[in-house]
Each structure stands twice: as C-alpha cells, then as structure tokens.
C-alpha cells in the first residue's frame, strides 16, 4: 500500500514498456496489456480516492530520499480526484481506439499508456521540476496521439500545438530556474515554506518566477489569449485521442490550483491572479461560446465547449475562496468526463456517417440514429448546463458560490448566457445531424465497429454517475477545497519537521 500513489504512473509505464517489447506481436497483445493496465489503474484510482477521502495526505519518497531533496509523490484529495477522472476517461477512450484506430498507425497503445503516465505523474508529483518532466511526458505522448492517423489538418494543428508547447516549456524552464535561483528549492511544499520568508528585496524576482509558471499553466489550460490552438488541435485529433485530451487542459487548471494553494498566501504570490485572470477567463467563455455557434463540425464544437469550460474553471479560480473552489472541483470532473464522451460521440457519428463525417451538414440518415441522438441529447443537456444533469448542478454551484459583487454578477451573466447559446448551438447541430436528411445522398457505407458504440455507451454512464453521485462528489469537492485552502496538511505531510528545519547553505 505504501507504493499506491506511484502506481498510477508505474502501471502504464510498465504497460508501455511491455508493449514496446511485444511490438511485433499481434495487436491483440497490446490491447490485452492496455486492458490490464487500465484495470490496474482503475483499482489504484479507487484505492487512492478512498484513501484520500479520509483526509490523509500520503507521501512517497522516491528512492527513499527525504523531501525536499528527493522527489516525492503526494496523494491528497485533489490528486486522487484528478487521477480518478483520468482513469475514468481512459477506459472508454481506449475501448473506442480498439475499434481499429489503434491498428491504423504505429505505437498508439504505448502513446496512450504514456499519456496516462504523464498525466498521473503531473497530478501526483510534489516536485516542481518533476512536474516539468511529467508535463513533457504527457506532451510528447499527446503529440503522438494528436497527429495519429495523419492528414493535413492534424499535421498543421499538430505543428502549431507542438511549437507552442515547446515555447511554453522554455518558459517553464526559465521560471523554474528563477524559482530555484531565488528560493533554492524545487519541492512544492518547501517552496511554499520558503515563500513565507522571502526577503523583501527578492520578492520581485520570486513573484516574476511565479508569474512565468502561471503563464505556462495558462497556456496548457488554453486560457485566452493563449487558447486558440485548442479547437484546431482537439478538433483534428482522432476521437479517442481527443477524449483523452479533455483531461489534458485540466492539467493547466490543476497546476494553477496547486500553485495558488501553495503560493498565493505569501507576499510574492499575493493577488497574482488579480485583476487580469477573471476578465481573461470570461473572455475565454465568450469567445468559446462564439466558437460553438461558429463550428461547422461536431468535434470542433465540442472542442469549443471544452474551451468554454476552461474559461469557467479559470473564472472560478480567479474568484477563489472555498465555496468557489468546491464548485470548481465538482465542475472539473463533470466537464472533463462529458467532453470526453462528446468527443467519442463525435467520433462515432463520423464513423457511421462515412463521407460527411461529423460535419454539420445535411447527409443521408445515419445508421443507429435513434440511440446516437439519445446519447447526443443526454450529453448536450449535460454539457450546456441544462437541468437536470451534472452541468446544471455544476453551474448552479458556480453561480451560488459567485460573490454578491459586480464581478460576481458579471460572472452570472456570462455563465448563463454562454450556456444558453451553447444549448442553442447544440440544438442546431442535433437538428442538422439527426433530423435533416439529404434524400439524394447515398446511405453511409462505412462500417463502424462495435467497439466505438460500446465505448460511447460506457462513456454515457458518466451522465447518471455524475448526477446520482452528485452528493458524495460535491462533498468530496468541498473537502478538497478546504484541504487546499488549509494547505497545512499537505505541507506537514511532505515536510514533517517544517521547511525551517531543512538544511540549507547560502550561495555563492
């Protein structure tokens, strides 16, 4: 059990290694390994959640070296929630990929597993440079998954995505260098401890270092004006990849959350989000809403919906406070799971429609229209925040938690109107996809495997799960927000003797 927090990284890593070793074998081997890996991941995620739900913060010292010198993995409520969300998405995404996509290029399964390893590592690590490394792991895996399958759109969007992220990595490194060069440590808990005692003369560089990290995380989160790449990239990716990417942007949100929890009570981190984050977050919502209206393909529409949710999450982050973060932490798994399901649905629709793909154009009636339209209805209602599904509950929480200030009410207006417009856009899309029929068009001849359907069905399970589990999830989210705000449990678990007891030397 002491290794538990590491398993979400080690299991997929081991799976990827085995897959590479068996790369000449029939693809069923890779699938089998992947299935076993996901089974292990699911079990690990559940155990982690159960452990975290007790309020304990479990620390693993890699290599048996104590923090802040060695790298530690820290499983608290937030990390467990993120790992569980990732695992939940991975299952249907993998299943969808096993419908034949995984055989259409090279190394799908190793990339998929390493994507999971990278994500989980980013969520669990308690060391900032190790976070950088896991960012790179998840990014390189995402590059592979994004361009998987080839084609002009993927190549172009992939190039933009990769270059932007490489530029982001450079910023990350400079930020980390500056942070180490001023605070002399890389462990997040230790950083938090050091921030409290930064000499006045060093506040400016430390604060700038934090700002650089914030900029990097905002890029990953696809916050405007750094998020234009997202719809092109996610819209171009194959459906299973895109589904997995739904959790990718949340890494940025997660990191911002972590950073704000660790750093923003200190002089260098004070009010670092104010006054710019809220306007940008709301602008993200507005532009993404426009994108939903403007979309000409379902996948692009879903990508904009994802962007929209990022804006909402960022706005919640900007407002801060336990209730707002509690709302955020319910909304985050909701939007991630539902967006992933929508990507799978878009992929399924594209598969059964054949030539017209998921384009929002009139076409021949698609096979399986009945249940696909029902799936669309469920997911559309959930994603646009209409009652009675999780989107409504999440939005309700965000609205309730918004403060009774002008900014709070602006947030109401933006959230409500954006959800409304999104619902109209989705209704229009549904109308075109399912109801308009082109009598002249030949019926789709593409044969779509059953794996995609099964994956979608599985992903649809998120909808009732998020509603029926709303009460426990909401309670968990609130406790997570409180744990983040308290900060002390995390710090004490990582550095039992406190940051002040760490041996340091003055340089140069």
């Amino acid at each position: 059990m002491m290794h538990l927090p590491l398993l979400p990284v080690l299991i997929p890593l081991a799976a990827a290694i085995l897959m590479l070793g068996a790369h000449r074998a029939d693809i069923r081997w890779a699938r089998g390994i992947a299935a076993l890996s996901l089974l292990g991941l699911a079990i690990a995620a559940i155990l982690l959640l159960r452990q975290a739900a007790t309020g304990s913060v479990v620390v693993v010292e890699l290599g048996n070296w104590p923090a802040p010198f060695g790298i530690v993995f820290v499983a608290d409520r937030l990390a467990a929630l993120m790992v569980a969300t990732t695992a939940a998405i991975a299952v249907p995404a993998l299943l969808a990929a096993c419908g034949g996509l995984d055989g259409r290029g090279r190394y799908f399964h190793p990339f998929f597993q390493m994507q999971l390893a990278g994500l989980n590592g980013a969520f669990l690590t308690g060391d900032l440079f190790n976070l950088f490394v896991f960012f790179e792991v998840l990014l390189i895996a995402s590059y592979g998954l994004l361009v998987y399958g080839g084609g002009v759109a993927r190549a172009r969007a992939g190039l933009h995505y990769v270059v932007l992220n490489l530029a982001g990595s450079v910023m990350f490194l400079i930020g980390l260098g500056l942070l180490y060069g001023t605070l002399g440590t890389l462990n997040l808990a230790d950083v938090a401890g050091r921030l409290a005692v930064v000499p006045v003369a060093d506040v400016a560089p430390v604060r700038t270092a934090l700002a650089l990290l914030v900029a990097v995380f905002a890029l990953k989160a696809a916050l405007l004006p750094l998020g234009f790449w997202l719809p092109h990239a996610y819209g171009a990716a194959a459906a299973p990849s895109a589904a997995l990417f739904a959790v990718l942007t949340k890494v940025g949100i997660y990191a911002l959350l972590r950073l704000s929890s660790a750093a923003f009570d200190s002089p260098p981190g004070a009010a670092l989000f104010y006054p710019w984050l809220l306007p940008l977050a709301l602008a993200t919502v507005v532009v993404a809403t426009a994108g939903v209206l403007a979309a000409t393909r379902l996948a692009t529409m879903v990508a904009h919906l994802l962007l929209l949710s990022t804006g909402m999450l960022a706005a919640a982050l900007a407002e801060g406070g336990v209730p707002m973060l509690a709302a955020l932490l319910y909304y985050l798994p909701h939007t991630t799971l539902i967006s992933a399901a929508l990507f799978l649905l878009a992929g399924r629709i594209a598969a059964v429609r054949g030539e017209s793909g998921d384009g929002l154009v009139r076409a021949a009636p698609m096979p399986g229209r009945g249940w696909l339209s029902a799936a669309f209805l469920l997911l559309a209602v959930a994603v646009s925040g209409l009652p009675p599904l999780s989107g409504f509950l999440g939005k309700l929480m965000l609205l309730s938690a918004a403060p009774a200030t002008a900014a709070g009410y602006v947030l109401w207006v933006v959230f409500i109107v954006s959800g409304f417009v999104a619902a109209l856009g989705l209704a229009r899309a549904a109308s075109t996809l399912f109801w308009e029929r082109d009598a002249a068009a030949l019926p789709a001849t593409a044969t779509a495997g059953q794996a995609g359907a099964l994956a979608l069905a599985l992903a649809l399970g998120f909808v009732p799960a998020l509603v029926l589990g709303a009460a426990p999830l909401s309670a968990y989210a609130r406790a997570t927000a409180e744990q983040l705000a308290a900060q002390q449990p995390y710090l004490r678990s990582v550095l039992p003797a406190g940051a002040a007891a760490v041996a340091r030397e003055v340089r140069p």
Binding site: F129, V133, E136, I140, Y143, V147, G150, G151, V152, A155, R156, G158, L159, H160, V162, V163, L166, A167, S169, V170, L173, I174, L176, G177, L178, Y180, G181, L186, R507, P508
Partner: protein, 110 residues
C-alpha cells in the same frame, strides 16, 4: 561576469524568438534550439558563477559547484533534444501533407 552571462542568455533568447516568429518550420526549429540554449544557461546560472570546483565529491574537495542546476540542465538538454527530433519529423510530415514548409500549412499564410 554576471552582466556578460545575462547578455549572452538574453541574446540567445532574442535570436530564438526572432527565429520562431519567422513562418518557416526550419527557422522555428532553429529558434527553439537557441531558446533551449538560453533556458539551459539560465537554469545553469541559477547555481551562480563562482570559481569553484566541478561537482565531484572527492576526498578533500572544497567548495563545489551547485550540482542540482547542472542535473536539471542535463535533463532539460535531453528532453529538448527529443523534442527537436520530434519537431523535425513533424515539420517534414507537415511539408509532405501541405506541400509547403510554411508553419501555417499555406503559402499565403499570415
């Protein structure tokens, strides 16, 4: 010495930025390479410049250079090498798909 190193880092970053702002994939690769150099030197500089010995914990060794930033830079160099390799492959793929080495995939791109 500090000003010189800072100037060097700044020049690398400026040249790298100039290059990635050019619209050709090859220039972007070059620019990212220069940017990585700049970032690596920056992290390296976080250990400060001091007339000290290489970080070898030999018997009787006196003041050693800060090994931690060096280890970080090593990791960063390796990762950036991998990323460069990938980017080069992607640039070729994009060239094959779009018929141009313009990063926006269209010759008339902005």
């Amino acid at each position: 010495m500090e000003a010189l190193l800072a100037t060097g880092i700044g020049t690398l970053v400026a040249a790298g930025l100039w290059l990635i702002l050019q619209a050709r994939s090859f220039s972007v690769v070059l620019g990212l390479t220069l940017l990585s150099y700049g970032a690596n030197l920056f992290i390296f500089a976080a250990g400060r410049l001091a007339p000290v010995a290489a970080p070898l914990a030999l018997p009787g060794a006196a003041r050693l250079a800060d090994a931690l930033p060096q280890a970080l830079v090593l990791t960063a160099i390796v990762i950036s090498f991998g990323m460069t390799a990938y980017l080069v492959a992607l640039a070729l793929r994009a060239m094959a798909e779009t018929g141009t080495d313009h990063v926006d995939g269209r010759e008339d791109g902005p």
